[in-house]
Symmetry: C2
DNA sequence: GTGCCACTTCAAGTATACTTGAAGTTAACA
DNA sequence: TGTTAACTTCAAGTATACTTGAAGTGGCAC
């Protein structure tokens, strides 16, 4: 079975070694055995858990929630209902978050088009655009930059 | 023209008044006039900017980047290129972020289905599921909970 | 006129998630 | 036999984004 040093895991996940030690300290990536020199030896199960940690963290879960999740998962008692509740709540909040980000993406896109058109209008001595015209507009995702974007 | 107290803006955006003062202090929501009693009077332009601040913050922009953006926007000098660069970079990073979140959403969904099936297997005295079976599976977004999810 | 509420400024404090530093150990290499 | 790199533990420090507290002002109801 594959085993990894802290440095290898650090590189694998682009996380500093200090962060991996921190995750162990706060109890979300635990039971890491040591070799004869006292160095951490990461195994496949730790890699799998770290993937889950990164996924959950990336999607906005706090350390406290991660601690709760893994305390349920590692407990001998039956916490399957708690796990399902936590995951279902996180899934729902994540779905909402993605929807909000998609709306925000459109806002950023509008701003970008607005300033690109300001630049164009200066180069061509045309009337500068007005933000009002962009406020409710959506733009196709063609990166060619050829389309005017205004009707 | 509509004017708002700090409390009204606070409620409008679900932000504590202290945060609005903080945004003024660090220079991202500035030029807020005071009435005869010295209280802040927010106008439409401040509401519009606050919407942009919330959008940018929500999509992961730091205060430092917001400061840069508005220092460009408010400057008399020609910073349109800088604004376009900043917005284009933010748009790209946001697109990547949304894609990553969609992948992470699938991971969360798999975990949820796995634990839901663990629960079902206990209720029906069936063999408990194995995580390996869920690792690469995708699930339709039907909330009915009727489908088994396993083939 | 006094109680109270919402506001003001300014300074200091806080939560989260790490990061850094000090001091020491181990193993490989010149 | 150094010495260099990579690791260890433990405590303290840091960045970001606010939040809280103290002390004071203004305007309105009773």
């Amino acid at each position: 079975m594959a085993e990894y040093t802290i440095k290898e895991v650090s590189e694998m996940f682009s996380l500093p070694a200090s962060t991996l030690r921190y995750y162990e300290e706060i109890g979300i990536l635990t039971n890491i055995p040591r070799n004869s020199s006292g160095n951490r030896v990461y195994q496949e199960c730790h890699i799998a858990r770290l993937r889950t940690i990164c996924c959950f963290k990336n999607t906005g879960m706090s350390m406290a929630q991660l601690q709760a999740f893994f305390s349920y998962e590692c407990s001998n008692e039956d916490h399957v209902e708690d796990i399902i509740r936590l995951l279902a709540e996180h899934k729902d909040s994540l779905a909402k978050k993605i929807e909000q980000l998609q709306r925000d993406y459109i806002h950023v896109q509008r701003k970008l088009h607005f300033y690109q058109d300001i630049k164009k209008s200066r180069e061509t001595q045309m009337q500068p655009p007005v933000w009002e015209d962009y406020k409710y507009q959506t733009f196709a995702e063609n990166e060619g930059d050829g389309a005017d974007g205004r009707s």
